[in-house]
Each structure stands twice: as structure tokens, then as C-alpha cells.
């Protein structure tokens, strides 16, 4: 008989090795799936994990694209990890991402066609504020009306999506767009663009912000009393209250920071890689970032790697689709397997597997 026994403290060895084991298990299970689809499993897996980084024809393009894809995921996930550690569940980063993008884009477009260097910083601030305000709705409702922030923040995503559609087809629509939906292209107008900072690296302001956020979160959790309070509130809410942590303040702070970072990610994306406000501008970064946050074990460095790994499976999966015509749903299933194994193996770092009967006490 197999039993699980809770470890007094999570095993560090398992915590470090489970991601590697998970990747290996994914390769085995995914390889079996690809084989049943009639593909060479070794070639498929090599294309997904290896070719984006080292293929002679694709790597020089895909390597920088990894940063472009991972940047917003990391930035949002870092924000979410603060709340998740404190037991505050912001599920609506997608909505905050959208509102940040709309706010930032609207600011930039209000001054069109000015090319003043002050516009982009203003857009960033507007994006931060937009995301923060959208996150304040669930935060204040939780603090003052004791509503459930999971539900409120999630449902506000759908409200944000409706706002996005209305902006794209109405009040932010490109006046020169012949009635088609979509704003002016911010990325192609000096002043509102978020360009690549160093040629050939994929590094734009958003990627830079993501790295800064990783470092800041690391310092916060290691050195700052606030980081300690967040961890304490998550692990022992009663103890936290006795030691003077104000739960309302913590809720507003955690949701505010995650909203601000999601809003900034939206702004960097709309003024850079995406370029414009469109009906379908949001492509699920806010939700994927939740996965990234947990993949990274809510640890800033872990999130950095988790974001890059997610980006790799997207870009490698795209290559596999292209080169082998593996169907897109098979790639999504493969990504799902990776997440499943990573999270399922988490049990090993928190529990000890015992084989045999439980001894009578």
C-alpha cells in the first residue's frame, strides 16, 4: 500500500529536481502521443526543445522571440506571485492587462501625431494606472464588502474584453482605417513605439521591466519586511494578524501591484510586438501567467525560468507544427502534459511516499 506522509518542511532536493523529472516524463508521454499520431517522437521533441535555440536556420530568429514571448508572462507572473504567496487570488490579470493596454494606448493616441519623447513614459504610467485601477475593484470589494476576489477579478476579464471590443470598433478606431476595427499602429509611430532596445536581441522595454521585476521581487522576499509579511499571511494568517499585519492593506497592495504589472505588460505589448488595439488583442497572457507563476513555484527566479520554458514550448510547438504538420491541439496537449507533470510532482516535495502499511500508533 502506498501512502503519502507530509514532510515537516518541503524537501529542497525534490523541489529542485522535480522540474527536470517532469520535463523527462513529458517527453516520454508526449513522445508516445506523437508516435500514435504517426510522427517520429524523437524528432518532434528535438524540434520543440532544441531547434528554437540551436537550429541553424531558425535559431537566430527564435532566440530573441523567446524573450518577446516570455517578457509579458514573467512580468505578470511576478505580480501575481506576491498575492498568491499571501493567499490573495487574482485570477483576472488578463483583464488588467487589457485595461492597461487600452489606457496606455488611449494616452498615446490622444497626443497623435506628436512625436514628443514624453509620450511613451506617459503611456507607461497610464498603463500602470489602468491595470491598478482595474485590480482595485476586486481589492476594495474584498476589503470593504468581503466579496470573493477570485470571482470578481475573473468576471472583470469579460467586462474588459467588452471594453476592448468597443475601443477597437469605436472610440479608439483608426480614423484612416476605412471603418475596419483596430486602432492606429502605435509601434510604427515614433513617440508611441516600444522599440527593440538592442538590435537582434528581442529586448524591448517590457522585457527589461520583466527582468527588473524579477530582481525587485527577489529582494523583496529575501530582504524586506513586506516580503516577510506576505509569506507569513499566506502560511499563517492568524499569526500574521497577531504580528501586526494589516490584512486589508496587504490585499490592496498585492492586487494593486499585480494589476499594475499586468497593466504595464499590456501597454508594452500594445506599443511593441502587437502594435495596436484590436478586438482580439489579448491572447491569454494573463491566464498563462497564472500557470507560469505556479510553475516557477511562486519564486522570482523560478518564474523567470518558467516563463522562458513556456515561451520555448510555444515557439518550439509552432516549429513542430510547421515542419512536421503536427496539429495545433496536439501541441497544446503536450504543453498541458508538461504542466500536469510539474504540478503533480510537486506532491513529492511536500510529501514523502511510504510503501507498506501504516504502523499502528
Amino acid at each position: 500500500m502506498i501512502r503519502l506522509e507530509k514532510r515537516p518542511t518541503p524537501s529542497r532536493a525534490w523541489a529542485l529536481s522535480t522540474p527536470i523529472i517532469a520535463v523527462i516524463l513529458t517527453m516520454i508521454a508526449g513522445g508516445a502521443m506523437f508516435a500514435t499520431l504517426g510522427q517520429d517522437p524523437f524528432e518532434t521533441i528535438r524540434i520543440i526543445f532544441w531547434d528554437p535555440l540551436f537550429h541553424e536556420r531558425f535559431a537566430s530568429f527564435s532566440r530573441p522571440q523567446l524573450l518577446v514571448k516570455a517578457g509579458p508572462l514573467i512580468l505578470i507572473a511576478i505580480g501575481l506571485s506576491l498575492g498568491f504567496r499571501a493567499g490573495i487570488w487574482n485570477i483576472g490579470a488578463e483583464g488588467q492587462y487589457i485595461v492597461g493596454a487600452i489606457a496606455g494606448a488611449a494616452f498615446g493616441l490622444a497626443f497623435y501625431p506628436s512625436e514628443s519623447p514624453l509620450i511613451f513614459p506617459g503611456m507607461v504610467i497610464a498603463g500602470l494606472i489602468g491595470g491598478t485601477l482595474w485590480a482595485m475593484i476586486p481589492a476594495l470589494l474584498k476589503v470593504f464588502a468581503n466579496t470573493n476576489e477570485i470571482l470578481v477579478s475573473l468576471l472583470l476579464v469579460y467586462v474588459a474584453e467588452a471594453m476592448l471590443a468597443s475601443a477597437a470598433t469605436g472610440w479608439l478606431r483608426n480614423p484612416e482605417g476605412q471603418g475596419f476595427p483596430g486602432s492606429r499602429n502605435l509601434a510604427r509611430h515614433a513617440g508611441t513605439d516600444n522599440p527593440e532596445l538592442f538590435a537582434g536581441t528581442g529586448m524591448h522595454w517590457g522585457v527589461l521591466a520583466a527582468f527588473v521585476a524579477v530582481i525587485a521581487a527577489y529582494v523583496l522576499f529575501q530582504r524586506h519586511v513586506l516580503g516577510y509579511q506576505i509569506k507569513l499571511a499566506g502560511q499563517a494568517p492568524r499569526a500574521a494578524r497577531f504580528s501586526g499585519v494589516n490584512p486589508g492593506r496587504l490585499i490592496i497592495l498585492c492586487l494593486g501591484v499585480s494589476g499594475a504589472l499586468a497593466g504595464a505588460a499590456g501597454l508594452f505589448e500594445v506599443s511593441g510586438p502587437a502594435g495596436q488595439i484590436t478586438i482580439d488583442f489579448n491572447s491569454g497572457y494573463g491566464f498563462t501567467a497564472i500557470i507560469v507563476a505556479f510553475l516557477g513555484r511562486l519564486n522570482p527566479i523560478g518564474i523567470l525560468f518558467a516563463g522562458l520554458l513556456m515561451a520555448l514550448t510555444y515557439i518550439g510547438g509552432e516549429l513542430a507544427q510547421l515542419l512536421l504538420q503536427v496539429p495545433a491541439p496536439a501541441i497544446q496537449a503536450f504543453q498541458g502534459m508538461l504542466l500536469f507533470f510539474l504540478l503533480a510532482l510537486d506532491v513529492l516535495s511536500n510529501y514523502r511516499v511510504r510503501i507498506g502499511r501504516e504502523r499502528a500508533a
Partner: protein, 360 residues
Amino acid sequence: MKRTTTLLTGVALATGLAGAAIADSHDPFQVGFIYVGPTGDFGWTYEHDQGRLAVEEAYGDQVETVYLENVPEGADAERAITTMILGGADMIFTTSFGYMEATNAVAAQFPDVLFEHATGYLREHPNVSTYSARFYEGRAVLGHIAGHMTESNTIGYIASFPIPEVIRGINSAYLHARAVNPDVEMRVVWVYTWFDPAVEADAAQALIDAGVDVLMQHTDSTAPQAVAQEAGIISFGQASDMAQFAPAPRVASIIDNWAPYYIERVGQAIEGTWEQADTWDGIGPGMVEIGEMTETIPAEVRESAQAMIDAIAAGEYHPFTGPINRQDGTAWLAEGEVADDGTLAGMDFYVEGITGEIPN
């Protein structure tokens, strides 16, 4: 000022060096397709993929086709298109409006690759063409049938987004329903999605609850068909035939048939006679088709609908022929006047008689 595209320039240079090797590595002409949905959606993307298969059939070993499905519009599209080119594509069809900026941005970096963008208007570089279909011609025929078939004199219309293409379809359907049934009323529900079976089903049910007995849709799933079947009303297939719901509720359909265009353009590209173009084809060249009209429609209505199809195909009849007023009562087209393509392309108003407002 143009966007700083140093990233892609770098790539273009890098691949330029390896360019000769790439050209040698594949003899067949490689044609890529970027799809917004899954090839199995039995709607928009499905029909584009049928076009791709028709290209393969037409040119055999001369061509090789590749595709990427479920490509989100926006940032991911630019990466997907570029990756496809690095993989050796010589010509790329980007089959959704949202790929417009990405298509043009990549086209600037790869002047030797040919681009065909569906339903857009931006052709910033000589290697970019655009193409779309005059769906409003098909909507006119469906409107004609709907006007005859409704007994409650209320037609329901599930609309996706308030963009010119959708508004044109509503206007065209309404005008031709009213022409055969002056008492007809059109109820429009905006669902703000192209494909969401649950939302589309809800919209269909809401319309049926409001007394609609003929249902039209400008969204791509078959969910409204299932709801119509349940309610015992009639409906029309959209984008693809949706023949699995024939003979009722689906009594006819409007089909996007991209195959003739794809075959023609790929042929020109292989021969080296491809030139930039802005194509807007309708029933005549076969880009828009009306699926089989079932026996549920009375024979004389099928005949008059067929006559309309023939007249449109022959260029004898334009669905927007005056007199037509705008919704606010002001004159748009005088007696016998035909709408110009520019106004149609940017249509942002309802015609007289439609109640309700276009959301903004």
C-alpha cells in the same frame, strides 16, 4: 516614421546569407497558410484549408503547402509568418483580417516572398495583395428566401462585430427580405465573437424567444443551427455548407469558396506573372456560393432565388441598387443608382427600415 525593425532586418540579413542554400533545399514552390482557427472548425478556417488542398490537387508535385493553425492575431502572427518564411515558404496566405499589420511588416523584410492577405485593405509593399469576397451578394439571396419563408415576419440575425462586412450583410439581407415581404422586421444581436458556440446558441435562443422564425448568422459555429433545429425554425449555413443540418433547419447556405482564387494566384506565382492586386470577387467568379436550397423552400421561391443568383453572377443585378435610403431617412442611392465599392467597403450605417442602432 517607420517602426524600428532592426530585429527583422537582422534576420533578413542572416537568412540572406543562407538564402541560396534555402532556395536549393526545396524544389517545389512552397505555399504557406496562416489560419486563425482550427482547420476542423467547419466554418471560416475549414474553407481556407479546402482552398489549400485544392492548390495541392491542382499543382501536384510542383507545390508543397504548409499551414499553421490557431495563430492569434497580433504579435504572434508576425512571428508565425516569419518562421514560415525561414522554413522555406515562397508565398503566404494570411487568412484573417487581424493579420493585416503583421503581413505588411513581414513583407517589408522579405521582398522576394509573395503575400496574400484576406479581407484587409493595406498593401504597403509591392509583394502584398489583398482579397476578399462579396458576401453581401450571397446575403441578398438568403434575405430573399428569408423574406418568403418567415410567417412571423421577424428575421433574426446573429452578428459578430460591427464592422463594414457584417453591416453590409445585414443591410443586403434586410433589403431583399423586405422586397418580397414589406412587413418584415430584422432583429440583430451582436455577440462580439466570430466563433463561440455557447454565446451563439444563447443569441439564437434569445432571438427565437423574441418571435423570430428565420435565423441568419454571421458567426462561424454550427451552434445556432442546433438551436434552430430544436425550435423547429429555419436557418442558413454560414461560411461552409453546414449540410449536416439539411434539409431543415438549414434550408440554404452561403459558402466561401477560396479554391478558384488560390489556384489562380499560386499558378501566377509559379509562372512569375503574379502582380499586386486588390481582389473583391462575388458569386460570378465563384468566390461566394449558395449551398443547395432544400425542398423545405417552396419551388417557386427556389426558382426566384436561382434567378437572382444568375442575375448577380451575370453582372445584371447589383444587390445595392437604388432607391435606398439610410436609416435616418436621408437619401443614399437614387432610383437605379448602384452603390460604389468605396462606400460599400466602409459601410457604417443601416439602411432605412432596420430598427436598432449599430453599437459603438
